[in-house]
């Protein structure tokens, strides 16, 4: 069963220079009880993708084509009222900045009661549930801390609270947008571990966006690599990280400093820049930065299978070149 199924999604922004094609023909799916990671660098379209899924898009954004199915329903065709009903209950979000996601003038307990407004239970019950949830994300002395304001918590604690609030309604999909980027590495590890446990317990699916390859490798079941608004590779974490089939994925993995064992004063990089999304070159979008560029690259490659369940958009796959 697939919780989230995105097919052929293209989103553009109207700009004075012309149409900026931020997402082009993006397809991905998040199966039930799985964690799918999205990896990509600035300008790859991660933020546009999230805003399209929860339908909170910038005023100059326009969906050109595609469907976003959530448990079978096309989110892009839903009336606004129904969409509002889904957000926060069926689809929850955790954002990057734990310092700005809470209302500063309400206690944490009050905020956690507020988000249960659809429930008919008593206030005491709701508070009890809030305390249980906080304990679950690893906040000691949870019921006492419900009376505190967000500023009384550290960054790591606030992100735990944000996760607790997001999972309170037992959503079927949690979208986590760089949830650990603002945190220190040792805290990141703690929170990732907790997230994994919670996902298992609640049985939800997670769409986890990060630029940190190590975290994706540790947390996710499947990974989608995005570049300049397109999906360039997708598959199980093991397949993609052990046998990357797209030159961009390979280069990205090589650049990760955690990957380089030998001490060197010349670290690998990906020379060049992301193409201009207003005037896109024809052909492969990675071609002008690709070390394996060849004649076929003037044509736009489609996603093709490198192995079962592992797809990449590169001409070299069909040519049977070694990955």
């Amino acid at each position: 069963m697939t919780v989230l199924d995105i097919q052929g999604l293209s989103v553009s922004y109207g700009t004075p220079r012309g149409e900026l094609r931020a997402l082009r023909d993006v397809s991905l799916s998040v199966p039930e009880r799985k964690i799918v990671g999205i990896v990509g660098e600035s300008g790859c379209g991660k933020s546009t993708l999230i805003s399209a899924i929860i339908r909170l898009m910038a005023p100059n954004a326009r969906v050109r084509s595609g469907t976003v199915r959530f448990n079978g329903e096309d989110l892009l065709a839903l009336p606004e009222a129904r969409m509002r009903g889904l957000r926060g209950t069926e689809i929850s979000m955790v954002f990057q900045d734990p310092m700005q996601t809470h209302n500063p003038v309400l206690t944490v307990g009050r905020q956690m009661i507020d988000i249960q407004y659809r429930d008919k239970r008593s206030k005491a019950d709701k508070l009890k549930r809030a305390a249980e949830m906080l304990a679950l994300v690893g906040i000691p002395d949870a019921s006492a801390r419900l009376n505190q304001y967000p500023f009384e918590f550290s960054g790591g604690m606030r992100q735990r609270i944000a996760i607790a609030m997001a999972l309170m309604a037992r959503p079927s999909l949690l979208i986590a947008d760089e949830p650990t980027t603002a945190l220190d590495a040792t805290l990141e590890v703690q929170i990732i571990k907790r997230l994994r446990e919670l996902q298992d317990e609640i049985g939800c699916s997670i769409l986890f966006i990060s630029h940190h390859l190590g975290v994706i490798a540790e947390l996710c079941d499947e990974v989608v690599v995005m570049y300049a608004g397109e999906v360039v590779e997708a598959g199980s974490v093991r397949d993609v990280f052990h046998n990357p089939a797209h030159p961009y994925t390979r280069a990205l993995l090589e650049c990760d400093p955690g990957h380089i064992k030998e001490k060197t004063r010349n670290l690998p990089t990906i020379p060049g820049n992301i193409p201009d999304l207003v005037s896109l070159p024809g052909g492969c979008i990675f071609a002008d930065r690709c070390p394996q560029r060849h004649d076929a690259c003037t044509e736009h490659p489609v996603l093709s299978e490198a192995s079962a369940g592992h797809r990449a958009a590169c001409h070299l796959i069909k040519a049977g070149a070694p990955a």
Binding site: E41, D184, L187, G214, R238, C255, L267, T269
Partner: protein
């Protein structure tokens, strides 16, 4: 040979304003740090938020006042040096800031920005156009960038402008505060390679401040690991990375996972949250999060123990036998 920079027992203290009912106090953001940097070498200071690494860097750059200890630059005491005299040294000790775009004056063109050091240090006689061209070429930016403004360039490009400005007057010591912060993985390497290249060409010493161990692994000669204002371990980079002794160093290394789902992780998991500097734990600062802590860790302050090319501050340091860690 004496060191270029010799820091001894430096304390940077900030006054904390008390509330209506509490009295004013003070916190030691940097609490007794000693280290030295040799000419032409790179020193990495690693620590997470609140460890005092940026405060230490700013104290060296004369932007914070050190309350105790000494900061010797080529034998000259920098602590308590009046600003008028420090100004002359600012040609030799330069700093790169964390926020690449935010550290550039927003209404100045790139040309004005990178030639500012000449104007500030009273070298208006120079051909500023030629200097701008030279500096842009040095950091790998085309001359057209001279006409741009900070809001018109990317984070990576702004970083290069920051490097060009810092190196305009041929400094001896560059303090780089999180030089790769906010950069994509694919261009982080570019920045580090640039620093390494310029160091080889210009022979300057670099002090790199970062929270990311992987960043300093390749380009530093020595590293110091800071926690709550103190160094917990320091030494030659290779030694610290291959045989870390302090549990916090172990945890930091483990917290930078490799992009490999099957990697055998040496998992040192910490407990709880980092304590507030306002409530410094007794004994060893790290005992509240340390997985190996014992009773005496919460009462006795561990002493600084030098062991070969590295030193650490721990009652129960990890020992290494045949590349296998045996935590106490």
């Amino acid at each position: 040979m004496s060191a270029l920079l010799d820091i001894k027992d430096v304390v940077v203290r900030f006054a904390v304003r008390g509330g209506v009912f509490s009295s004013a106090g003070s916190i030691d953001a940097v609490s007794g740090v000693s280290l030295s940097i040799e000419e032409g070498k790179t020193y990495g200071i690693v620590g997470e938020s609140g460890s005092g690494k940026t405060t230490l860097a700013r104290a060296v750059a004369g932007l914070h006042h050190a309350s105790e200890g000494s900061i010797l630059y080529r034998g000259q005491e920098l602590r308590d040096l009046p600003e008028a005299q420090f100004r002359k040294l600012r040609r030799e000790i330069v700093m790169m800031f964390q926020d690449p775009i935010g550290s550039l004056s927003p209404r100045l063109s790139v040309k004005s920005l990178i030639t500012e050091p000449f104007r500030i240090q009273g070298m208006k006689g120079r051909d500023l156009d030629a200097e701008a061209r030279r500096l842009l070429a040095m950091v790998g930016l085309p001359p057209e960038f001279a006409a741009r403004y900070p809001y018109q360039i990317s984070g990576g490009q702004a970083r290069r402008v920051g490097v060009a400005r810092a190196l305009a007057l041929d400094p001896k010591l560059l303090i780089a505060d999180e030089p790769t912060a906010g950069l994509d993985v694919s261009i982080q390497g570019e920045m580090l390679n640039l620093l390494a290249r310029l160091q080889d060409e210009l022979g300057l010493a670099i002090m790199i401040i970062t929270h990311n161990l992987n960043v300093v692994r390749h380009i530093t000669d020595r590293v110091g690991i800071m926690y709550l204002g103190k160094l917990v371990e320091e030494g030659e980079t290779d030694t610290v990375f291959s045989a870390p002794r302090h549990p916090y160093t172990l945890a930091l290394l483990a917290a930078n996972p490799e992009p490999d789902p099957d990697a055998q992780l040496m998992r040192i998991e910490l407990q709880g949250e980092p304590p507030s500097i306002l409530n410094r734990p007794t004994g060893c600062e790290f005992h509240t999060r340390c997985p190996f802590a014992q009773a005496r860790c919460s009462t006795d302050v561990p002493s600084w123990q030098v062991a070969g090319p590295a030193a650490h501050r721990c009652h129960l340091p990890a020992s290494w036998e045949q590349d296998k860690v045996c935590p106490a």
